[in-house]
């Protein structure tokens, strides 16, 4: 199984690394990160906290753009160019192809997050003289959330084109962070357990203003990631397996 999924994932990584979008987004994000310290101060003693908060937001947007641009177009592009025939006509299951594609996007998103976090660390050290290790916890949370986003996008892309994928994924992302808003009323509170939420990945407060994320919370975040990404990939595999190529 992994001997088929892994080469597909590495193929996605190799293809992604030659796409300009990854580097362009990363460069622009780095430039913006360098500009963060020039933002108006929020008060004496909290400049570095503001930096961390804005840096996390920037990291989220950067990862989202890269993840969506790769995940939304990968499978539709391969179907259109028919490069997929050479893969799935071999002894490769369609779910293996889908999971391999997702894994490749997830790895690239991880690489981008790692690179951007290193840049944040350098800026933090130069500007505030601090090693901001907690930003790595924030990067992990964003990476895991991007794993869920990528899984959703790849699943939707099994049956439709990039524009619909991006629209559907952004809608899901919005809804995923709006549980308390959408189901906050007393009458709807009972529905909350049934609505998938991405709020578990929101660790801005403990990372930017607190002492970091407790290990148990990190573990539970991992469970949420596995559950949501796994469900999306399962549904995506079912959709792709029913599709004529």
């Amino acid at each position: 199984m992994m001997q088929r999924i892994w080469p597909i994932a590495l193929g996605v990584v190799a293809d992604s690394l030659r796409r300009k979008v990854v580097y362009v987004v990363l460069v622009f994000a780095a430039l913006l990160a360098f500009a963060i310290p020039s933002l108006p101060d929020y008060g004496l003693g909290v400049e570095s906290a503001v930096f961390r908060e804005v840096a996390l937001a920037l990291a989220f947007v950067t990862a989202l753009v890269v993840t969506l641009s790769l995940a939304a177009n990968r499978i539709p592009g391969e179907l259109e160019r028919r490069t997929v025939y050479n893969v799935v006509a071999k002894r490769v299951s369609r779910w293996e192809y889908l999971v391999g594609t997702w894994l490749g996007v997830f790895l690239v998103a991880g690489g981008v997050m790692a690179a951007f976090t290193v840049i944040e660390q350098v800026i933090g050290l130069i500007t505030y003289g601090e090693y901001m290790w907690l930003l790595w916890e924030g990067a992990l949370a964003i990476w895991l959330e991007m794993g869920v986003v990528a899984a959703f996008a790849v699943a939707v892309s099994a049956i439709t084109g990039p524009v619909v994928v991006v629209t559907a994924t952004l809608t899901a992302l919005f809804i995923g962070h709006s549980r308390s808003t959408l189901l906050g009323g007393e009458g709807a509170l009972a529905l909350q357990p049934f609505m998938p939420s991405l709020d578990a990945f929101n660790v801005v407060n403990p990372v930017a203003h607190g002492d970091g994320v407790p290990p148990l919370y990190l573990a539970s975040m991992l469970v949420v990631f596995l559950g949501l990404a796994g469900t999306s990939l399962f549904v995506g595999s079912a959709l792709l397996s029913r599709r004529d190529l």
């Binding site: 088929r4 160019r81 025939y85 050479n86 071999k90 029913r242 190529l245």
Partner: protein, 317 residues
């Protein structure tokens, strides 16, 4: 070949109906196709555009979900990944990720086919040489011509040393030398015991290499069998003679049809029961018989006639 040998490829009652939108009438791309390919043979799949050749192949390889039918390769259900272990497939006009080099592409497909890591480099070099791409291991595929990609498509189909190879228009886009190379490759595969299912528009290619053919028209099998049986024209014999002068003797002319002459060589056909009289007439005229053989259609003529004959049936459906 033994009649009891299990077929390498067996398709039974293949059917594919497309229904574009809910409520719309379905359209049958493949209506009822059954094909059996004996091990170690080359089987041609012929038909005009839209006949259902590619859809049939895609159903066989699990790329398209069949509406009905049974698909077996080497006795296993080939619509499932596990049933395609010993299969190589070259799609029509194969495409590859453009950023890969030829060696990287073959490595990827080798890994997906389960080729042991220790064998990949050796097989890659050997296959690239076999398909005429030796020395291009490190070339990026974006620099490859159409014909080179076609050759690479054949190489990736053979990377797992398959027992059964399915080739969809393998000579498409190749120059005459390339087409000859592909023909020779198919023949060498057959000689080594590999079964080849060949879908092609190139009738000369099919006629040269195929042991048997199945001709599809409008999603149905219009004809199938070995080429000799299909192309031999029952009841007529072809005669080739020399030294008959500028015109056929009257005793011969009354029997001969499809008469052609070139460079002093006359070729004509006569009814089987008139062969003796025709030979005597050639002798009497001072001519010399060069060949007598059962009359055989060209595949091109047979194909055109068959499609014309089945056109009415198709229109009536």
């Amino acid at each position: 070949m033994s009649q009891t040998t299990a077929p390498a490829i067996h398709i039974e009652g293949a059917r594919k109906a497309y229904k574009p939108i809910v409520g719309a009438p379905s359209r049958e791309a493949v209506a009822d196709v059954s094909i059996s390919v004996a091990p170690g043979t080359i089987h041609g799949l012929l038909g005009p555009n839209g006949a259902g050749k590619t859809t049939t192949i895609k159903m066989l390889l699990g790329l398209v979900r069949p509406t009905a039918g049974m698909f077996r390769i080497l006795g296993e259900d080939s619509t499932l990944p596990a049933g395609r272990r010993g299969v190589g497939f070259m799609p029509e006009q194969p495409y590859f990720p453009q950023h890969l080099t030829a060696a990287h592409a073959l490595k990827l497909y080798a890994q997906l086919s389960g080729v042991p890591s220790s064998e990949i480099a050796g097989r890659t070099s050997a296959l690239l040489e076999r398909v005429g791409l030796a020395g291009r291991e490190r070339s990026t595929l974006s620099t490859f011509s159409r014909g080179m990609l076609q050759r690479l498509g054949i190489a990736q189909a053979l990377i797992n040393e398959p027992t059964v190879v399915v080739l969809d228009e393998p000579a498409s886009g190749l120059d005459p030398v390339g087409q000859r190379d592909v023909r020779n490759l198919m023949l060498s595969l057959r000689d080594s015991g590999v079964t080849v299912l060949l879908s092609s528009h190139q009738l000369s290619e099919v006629e040269t290499v195929c042991d048997e053919v199945t001709i599809l028209n409008a999603g149905r099998v219009a004809a199938k069998g070995d080429l000799d049986t299909l192309l031999d024209i029952e009841g007529r014999t072809s005669i080739r003679a020399r030294g008959l002068g500028d015109s056929l003797p009257s005793t011969l002319a009354e029997h001969a049809v499809n008469v052609a002459v070139s460079g002093g060589v006359w070729v004509f056909s006569v009814a089987d029961d008139a062969v003796r009289a025709a030979v005597d007439a050639v002798d009497d005229a001072g001519g010399r018989i060069e060949a007598i053989a059962p009359m055989r259609d060209s595949l091109e003529d047979y194909f055109a006639r068959l499609l014309a004959e089945t056109a009415g049936e198709v229109g009536a459906r």
